[in-house]
């Protein structure tokens, strides 16, 4: 068990499940008990007048059930119906702040917002907790403690920028960031202005190369699939070497024409663009057959951060994600009947539930679909693989722009 400065109701060490001598069956049973207890605790927090937020306390008045007495575990969450993300558009943001946290400094993280109102989520410590939990799953060999990181991803009012910076600081390093406005990229793509979109991408990559050439001893990085491919392309085209020369620095022997040669040991990535083929390409062709470690994750502003089983040729480069239970859970359900989980290996829509003291999101139908996966010994609960845009929405959604 790791030691954490966070309250036991908030922090759940992934290491709890690392014990190889406990059977999977036993872990599955314990995980379910832990989840049910956590559901009761969190529902009690959000629906008690002393600790709950204005939004849920108001909402409860319309319920024909009593959340404090009728919700005994995860199987009762269906009583809340489904969460509508439109509830998160517009203010006041204060209606989401639990009274139990009154007076604490609050962040707002946004998602969407290219046109119209973005969805806003209030956060106090959740992003730190999520990323500290995730930190326990990173192998130190590839993400050495004390290493500096490069954050090549979206900036602005987004969780990622602060979260990666916190992850780095939590591991004893310093995080270097680029400026990247994904809303502008979406606008360019919708206007079919591909040339400008490509120029903007080059601008982002150039910022990353400048950081790498700056002598900051960067060993780890976060990026997205599209930026990873562009970053690799730039390195192979000798752009980092050019940057060194333009700064009057000597190019090291052996050159700087790959992610490995640039000194990166570990790569933390995220996004629904991770198809098995892209993962294979990244592993084989960008990361020197796995010499640079890559750990894909699936997350968003509403949920925490789902980790993946180790990827590689042993599993056909399949990516299977497991939510940070009990703080969040994913279910793969029949798109026409959210109360029915599909069978293992079958395709369904991803239903997301967030269960933290800061934020309660019961049963939100994500914009993604995937296959339901069986519990795994490090994550003894249901997972989801093959995550991709939900086919019924895919035609109208612009995803993976950065």
């Amino acid at each position: 068990m790791s030691t954490s400065k966070h309250a036991p109701i908030d922090y759940f060490s992934p290491a709890e499940w690392f014990n190889p001598s406990e059977s999977l069956e036993s872990k599955v049973k314990r995980a379910k008990e832990q989840l049910d207890k956590h559901v009761r605790d969190i529902v009690k927090w959000h629906f008690s007048p002393e600790t709950g937020c204005e939004f849920w306390l108001e909402k409860a008045k319309s319920y024909s059930f009593n959340p404090l007495t009728d919700v005994k575990g995860a199987d009762d969450l269906h009583l809340f119906g489904t969460f509508e993300d439109d509830w998160l558009r517009g203010g006041p943001i204060s209606r989401w702040v639990p009274k139990g946290f009154a007076g604490k400094p609050v962040y707002v993280f946004e998602t969407g917002g290219t046109t119209g109102l973005p969805k806003s989520r209030m956060v106090i410590d959740d992003f730190r907790i999520d990323y500290e939990m995730m930190s326990e799953t990173l192998p130190d060999k590839h993400f050495p403690k004390g290493s500096n990181w490069l954050m090549l991803g979206p900036s602005g009012p987004r969780r990622l920028r602060l979260a990666i910076e916190h992850l780095t600081q939590h591991r004893g390093g310093v995080c270097f960031c680029v400026d990247l406005d994904p809303r502008w990229v979406v606008k360019l793509i919708k206007a079919r202005n591909i040339e400008q979109a490509n120029l903007y991408k080059e601008h982002c990559i150039d910022q990353a190369l400048t950081i790498l050439a700056g002598g900051h001893d960067i060993k780890c990085m976060f990026t997205t699939p599209k930026l990873l491919a562009s970053f690799d392309e730039a390195l192979r085209a000798g752009k980092l070497e050019e940057k060194y020369r333009s700064l009057g620095k000597k190019v090291p022997p052996g050159g700087l024409r790959s992610i490995k040669a640039a000194g990166i040991l570990g790569l933390f990535t995220g996004g629904t663009e991770f198809t098995p083929q892209f993962t294979r390409e990244a592993y084989e062709e960008m990361l020197d057959n796995g010499d640079v470690y890559m750990t894909p994750t699936y997350g968003n502003t509403l949920m925490g951060l789902a980790c993946s089983k180790p990827i590689g040729p042993h599993d056909g480069f399949k990516i299977t994600y497991y939510a940070p239970q009990p703080r969040a859970m994913t279910e793969v359900v029949d798109p026409k009947d959210y109360s029915r989980k599909v069978g293992y290996g079958e395709t369904g829509r991803v239903l997301l539930t967030t269960l933290t003291r800061e934020f309660f999101v019961p049963r939100f139908p994500e914009r993604d679909e995937g296959e339901r996966e069986a519990p795994y010994e490090r994550y003894p609960w249901d997972g989801v693989s093959g995550v991709r845009p939900f086919s019924e929405l895919a035609a109208t959604t612009v995803v993976g722009v950065y």
Partner: protein, 478 residues
């Protein structure tokens, strides 16, 4: 089912992402084609300086010999096709199965590709206007005492290819003879011809490191056009609009090819009826050199009726029928959309579907999971009618009456134009007309090509640029 890999410049690559091709009539799976990503394309392009050097080191005489062998293999050998081997007939059968183009068209087009392979010296002689092939070994040559020197504009030639017109493959076939590495992105339904030509080259001794067969999606196609120093692409006006001003990309789009009568020949139009029908309908009427309009100063009604009577007897036939004259649409919704566009145009007064009047049955024919569009002639009262200057993916032509003196001013862009007139002044005006690319004077169908004169673009001038070059001997040096 045949599993076709990508060819990544010397390495066969089976992807986890595959496009499944089905038989257009039965829906049965025919092939699975490995797809690569734009970033893989970019990575492979990083090797092109080395690939070009490999080609540069091969004497031109050897390369020309390889073409001769490749021509023989293409037409006669069993060649690898993924996890199987195909003879020429098997190749033609698969090509027809996945594209919907009848076997008889596929065979005819494949023979065009064979012709270019077989007669590569004639073809490159035409493209270079007689440049001595020694240039490709030395970088310069002399003719009539004049220096002729050129330098390559790129280290690879990329071709983003269509699925609907196998004849276009003859356009990129000379690339290797110009000592230029070749990257092909096949059309989704037509991997067959590019793969077979590359296999013919490889069997004939062309190093695989200079040949890329990289099936990909639209994004991959854009990466090819973005990253290759020179490329060609096929597509409609809208698709190609972003590249309209990019000199690195040779665009092959809509042709708006035309037959143009002078005052003197219009009255005897029926003498040229065979030529009119061939120009409009040959090979399913899908090529950019198929005529899509007939302009005449007189007799337009009679001409439209004459063509319509010939078209009215053309019927859909099974894909393997040697008398096939019409291509099927493997995606019936495409045929339906085109049919709707024609019908929408007819709502504007001043045009009538003459074929419909003669045939008495609708243009759109649906059969099982496929559809056909029957050949169509529209008589337009004026050049302004929305259907007067249209090109569709089936045998279609408008017939427009217009005074001879106005015709050349009003026809607009014309990829291939045939002028039927003995009027010297009119012919002279046609010779000077800047919006006609390929010009035929006399009864020559618009779709007949001459291999030593490219009708659209010139691969040699696309890949090489003339340079001033002098050299002098060093004196006093040891």
């Amino acid at each position: 089912m045949i599993r076709i890999p990508a060819l990544r410049f010397g390495k066969e690559y089976t992807s986890l992402d595959k496009a499944q091709l089905v038989h257009h009539v039965t829906g049965e799976p025919v092939a699975e084609v490995s797809q690569v990503t734009g970033s893989q394309i970019a990575r492979d392009l990083g090797q092109m300086d080395r690939a070009r050097q490999i080609l540069a080191d091969i004497p031109m005489a050897d390369i020309l010999g390889m073409y001769k062998k490749a021509a023989d293999y293409f037409a006669n050998a069993k060649l690898p096709c993924g996890d199987t081997e195909l003879d020429f007939d098997g190749y033609v059968r698969n090509l027809s199965a996945t594209t919907g183009s009848p076997m008889v068209f596929c065979r005819r087009n494949a023979l065009k590709v064979h012709y270019v392979l077989e007669n590569i010296e004639e073809v490159i002689g035409g493209l270079t206007r007689g440049l001595d092939p020694e240039f490709f070994d030395k970088g310069f040559t002399t003719r009539g005492g004049r220096m002729q020197a050129f330098f390559p504009t790129t280290n690879v030639f990329g071709a983003v290819l269509p699925s609907n017109s196998p004849g276009v493959h003859s356009l990129w076939v000379p690339t290797i003879a110009f000592k230029m590495p070749l990257l092909l992105k096949p059309g989704r339904e037509e991997p067959w011809t590019p793969f077979r030509v590359l296999q013919s080259f490889i069997k004939a001794g062309v190093p695989p490191q200079v040949l890329g067969f990289l099936p990909s999606d639209h994004s991959g196609a854009n990466d090819i056009l973005r990253l290759c120093g020179r490329s060609m692409a096929f597509g409609d006006d809208r698709t190609m609009a972003p590249y309209r001003n990019d000199h690195r990309v040779e665009i092959h789009g809509t042709g708006y090819s035309k037959i143009i009568f002078g005052d003197d020949k219009a009255p005897s139009w029926d003498k040229y009826l065979d030529m009119l029908v061939e120009s409009i309908a040959a090979n399913g009427g899908r090529a950019c050199v198929n005529a899509s309009a007939v302009w005449t100063p007189s007799h337009a009604d009679a001409m439209a009726m004459g063509i319509a009577k010939r078209f009215a007897v053309m019927k859909p036939r099974p894909w393997d029928d040697p008398n096939c004259e019409i291509s099927a649409f493997a995606k019936p919704e495409v045929a339906e959309a085109i049919n709707n566009m024609v019908d929408e145009g007819l709502k504007t007064p001043g045009a009538r579907d003459v074929t419909l009047e003669v045939r008495g049955t609708p243009r759109l024919v649906k059969e099982g999971r496929i559809a056909y569009l029957l050949p169509t002639v529209i008589r337009c009262d004026s050049p302004e009618h929305p259907l007067a200057n249209k090109e569709f993916l089936f045998p279609y032509a408008s017939v427009i009456e217009c005074p001879q003196d106005d015709i050349l001013h009003r026809i607009g862009y014309t990829l291939a134009g045939t002028v039927l007139s003995d009027d010297k002044a009119f012919v002279s005006s046609a010779m000077a007309c800047s919006h006609v690319e390929r010009l035929n004077v006399g009864p020559l169908p618009t779709n007949r090509l001459t291999w030593d004169q490219p009708h659209e673009g010139n691969l040699f001038t696309h890949l090489y640029k003339q340079r001033a070059f002098s050299q002098a001997a060093f004196t006093g040096s040891k």
